[in-house]
C-alpha cells in the first residue's frame, strides 16, 4: 500500500494532520502535567492541613464528625485524625519518602516541630481505620473509582506522646482526559481539512484542467478552446502564461504552414511548367529521363512538406474501416503492376486521418517493393492493437541500424543512389503518421530474411 499520497491535496492534508496531531499531543501533555500537579498539591495540602490544624490537639475532633458536604471533593476528603501511641506500616503500604520530605517542610513551615514523619500510600480497602467506619468506607469506595488509595501521613511532633495519623483520599486520575483530547483533535482536524480542501481545490482544480489542456495541446497543437484563468492569483498567472505560450506556438505553426504552402506552390508551379516543356523534347528516352527526374523532385518535395505538416491535420479524424483502407492501398499497387498481395484482414473501424494513414501504409509497401521486390500486406488485431503489417523477403536491415532507418534522410544502403527515389523520408513519415494516430512504427527482420514493418495503432 502506498502511504505517501502523490497529489498536492493529499500531501497537504497529510502534513496538516501530522502537525496538528503533534501540536495536540504537546498541549495534551502540558494539560495532563498541570492536572497532575494540581492533584498532588491538593492531596499534600489536605494532609498538611489535617496534621497542622487538627493534629496538634483533639479540640477539632467534633467538627470533623460532621460528614463532608461534598464527598467527592479531595480537599475535604481528609479523614479524621487517628491518634495512636505507635505507628507501623501495613504489609500493602508503599513508603513515599519524597512526599514525606515535602510534607515535613510544609508542616514545619507552619511552626510544628517534627520529631518523626512518615508517608505511605495504602489501598483504601485494606485500611483498618476505615474498616471501623463501614458507611464512609462504602461511600468512598463507590465514589473513588476502581482502586482508590489513601495517603497515610503519620506525624510525631516533638514532645508529643502519640502519633497523629492523617488519611487523605488520593483522587483517581480523570479518565476522560485522553478521550476529550482526541475528540478535540478530531474536530479541529475535520475543520482544518474541510477548509484546506476547499482552498486547495481552488488550486488543484485549475491545475488539473491545465494539465489536461497541456496534454491535449501537445497532441493536436490546436490553440482553440483555451482555459479560462481561474483560481488563486498565482494559478491564474500560470494559466494566462500557458495560454500565451500556446497561442505563440500555434501562431508559429500556422506561420510554418503558410510558409510551406508558399514554398510548395512556388516550387510546384515551375516544376509543372518544366514538365510541360519537356513534352517538346524530341528524343523519347531523354524525355522519359527528364520526366522521371521531375517526378523524383516532386516526390521528395511532397515528402518534406508532408513531414513538416504531419500532426497538423486540418481535418478531424474520421471513423474508417481499416480493412477497406488497406485493400484500397494494395489495389493502387496492383494497378501499377507491383507484386503486392493482400493477406488476411479483419474488419475494424477506428478514427483516422485517412489521407495520412494511406500515405504511411503506401510508404511501407513502396519500401518493401523497392528493396524486397514484393510485399505481403495484412491487417490483424493483436490485443488492444490493430496492426497494419507489410512484409518482404528483401535483405532486411542490419540489426544495429533499425532505429537509424526511421530518421530523416536515411536510406537502406549508402551506395544506393537516387535511382531508388524519394528523399529517404518514407519511414520517417510512416513513423510520424503512426505517432499522429497514437500508435507506433515497428521494424524487425524476419526469420528467413526480409523485413517486417508494422504500424501498430491502439484499437479505436
Amino acid at each position: 500500500m502506498r502511504l505517501w499520497p502523490r497529489s498536492l491535496l493529499g500531501q497537504m492534508l497529510l502534513a496538516v494532520a501530522a502537525v496538528l496531531l503533534l501540536a495536540q499531543a504537546i498541549s495534551a501533555t502540558l494539560l495532563w502535567r498541570a492536572a497532575e500537579a494540581r492533584r498532588e498539591a491538593a492531596v499534600m495540602n489536605a494532609a498538611a492541613f489535617s496534621l497542622v490544624v487538627r493534629g496538634r490537639d483533639g479540640r477539632e475532633e467534633r467538627a470533623l464528625r460532621t460528614p463532608p458536604r461534598r464527598p467527592d471533593d479531595s480537599f475535604v476528603r481528609a479523614l479524621r485524625i487517628e491518634r495512636s501511641p505507635a505507628f507501623a506500616p501495613l504489609p500493602g503500604d508503599v513508603a513515599d519518602a519524597e512526599r514525606a520530605e515535602a510534607l515535613r517542610a510544609m508542616v514545619e513551615s507552619h511552626g510544628v516541630a517534627v520529631s518523626d514523619l512518615a508517608v505511605f500510600v495504602r489501598p483504601l480497602a485494606s485500611d483498618p481505620y476505615l474498616a471501623t467506619r463501614p458507611r464512609l468506607r462504602a461511600r468512598l469506595l463507590r465514589g473513588g473509582g476502581d482502586r482508590p488509595r489513601l495517603l497515610v501521613a503519620a506525624l510525631k511532633a516533638q514532645g508529643a506522646q502519640e502519633w497523629a495519623v492523617a488519611r487523605v483520599l488520593i483522587p483517581v486520575r480523570q479518565r476522560g482526559v485522553l478521550g476529550s483530547i482526541l475528540f478535540q483533535t478530531l474536530v479541529i482536524y475535520l475543520l482544518l481539512v474541510g477548509l484546506h480542501f476547499l482552498l486547495l481545490r481552488r488550486i488543484t482544480r485549475p491545475l488539473a484542467a491545465l494539465t489536461a489542456r497541456t496534454e491535449s495541446f501537445a497532441r493536436d497543437r490546436n490553440a482553440d478552446g483555451q482555459l479560462e484563468a481561474r483560481g488563486p492569483h498565482d494559478v491564474r498567472r500560470l494559466i494566462a502564461a500557458h495560454n500565451a505560450m500556446e497561442a505563440r506556438i500555434a501562431a508559429l505553426l500556422d506561420e510554418k504552414d503558410v510558409m510551406l504552402g508558399a514554398i510548395g506552390h512556388d516550387l510546384k508551379t515551375p516544376l509543372a511548367a518544366l514538365r510541360v516543356r519537356i513534352e517538346s523534347v524530341e528524343d523519347e528516352a531523354e524525355r522519359a529521363k527528364m520526366a522521371a527526374g521531375i517526378e523524383d523532385i516532386t516526390r521528395s518535395l511532397d515528402d518534406i512538406l508532408s513531414l513538416a505538416r504531419v500532426g497538423r491535420a486540418s481535418e478531424a479524424p474520421e471513423r474508417v474501416d481499416l480493412a477497406a483502407l488497406t485493400a484500397s492501398v494494395v489495389e493502387e499497387f496492383e494497378d501499377m503492376g507491383d507484386p503486392v498481395t493482400l493477406g488476411p484482414t479483419v474488419r475494424a473501424a477506428r478514427p483516422v486521418h485517412i489521407t495520412w494513414l494511406r500515405r504511411g501504409l503506401r510508404n511501407l509497401i513502396a519500401n518493401a517493393v523497392r528493396y524486397g521486390g514484393a510485399a505481403d500486406v495484412s491487417l490483424t488485431r493483436e490485443g488492444g492493437h490493430l496492426v497494419l503489417r507489410v512484409e518482404d523477403r528483401g535483405p532486411g536491415i542490419a540489426p544495429g541500424r533499425i532505429a537509424d532507418m526511421m530518421e530523416p534522410f536515411t536510406r537502406g544502403e549508402a551506395s544506393r543512389n537516387r535511382e531508388t527515389g524519394g528523399a529517404g523520408l518514407g519511414l520517417t513519415l510512416a513513423r510520424a503518421i503512426a505517432e499522429q494516430h497514437g500508435g507506433e512504427l515497428a521494424l524487425a527482420n524476419r526469420d528467413g530474411g526480409g523485413l517486417r514493418a508494422e504500424i501498430r495503432l491502439p484499437a479505436g
Partner: protein, 244 residues
Amino acid sequence: MNDTATIRLLLVDDEASLREPLADYLVRQGFVVEQAADAAAARSLLLGEAPDLVLLDIMMPGEDGLSLCRHLVESREIPVIFLTARGEATDRIVGLEIGADDYVVKPFEPRELVARIRSVLRRASRPAPAAEDDAHYLFEDWRLDPLKRKLTDPDGALVPISTAEFRLLRAFLDHPRAVLDRDRLLDMVQGREAHLFDRAVDNQVSRLRRKIEEDSRNPHFIQTVRGGGYRFAADVRRVAQDQG
C-alpha cells in the same frame, strides 16, 4: 473524338511560365486555347464565345479560382478542371463540392491532363443527370453519398473506395435487383478515368466485394448471375442528404 479542332479551352493561371508552354502544348494536341492571367481577364474573355471547358488555377492574386469556378458552374454551366499546387484532401473536396468536374495536382503529366479534358467533355455531352443526383443511397444501413463519394458502413465508419469502385457501386445502386452484364456495366462505369477501360469489370467487382461484403466468396450484395453478369441483391432507397 476526332473533332478536337472545334474544342475551345480557356486556360486561367497567373504564372506565365506555366500558362504559355501549357497553352502551346494543348494547341499541339489540337485544342483551341485562350489564355487569361487572372479571374478578371477570364471574365472578360467569357463575355465572348463561351469555351467548352475551363482550366483554372486555384491560387491566384485577386479573385481566386474557387470563386470564379462557382460563377462558371452556376451561371454558365461550363465544365471546370482545377489546376492546383495544393494536394490536400480538403482542397480536393472543396473543389469538387463547388462543382468543378475534376482537378489535377501540379506538376501533372500533360498527357493525363489531356485525358481528363476529354473525359470531362465526354461526360458533359451526355444528358444531364437527374435532379435528385446528390440524394444519398441507402442499402441495408449502408450509405453512399454520391457527391462526396463517401461510402459508410452500418456502424457509420467510412469505407474507402476508388473512383472506379464508386462508379460501379452507383451503377448497381441505380439498378437494384436487375441483372447487369459486363458490357452494360462497363458502359455505365465509363467516366473520366481513361485507365478504367483497361481494367476488367470482374476485377472491379471483386475489389468492391472485398470492401462491402462480409465474406466476398459468398457475396450477399453483389451476386454473380451465371452467364449473365451481376445483380445487386438488396433494396435501395434514396434520401436527401440530411435525412435518414
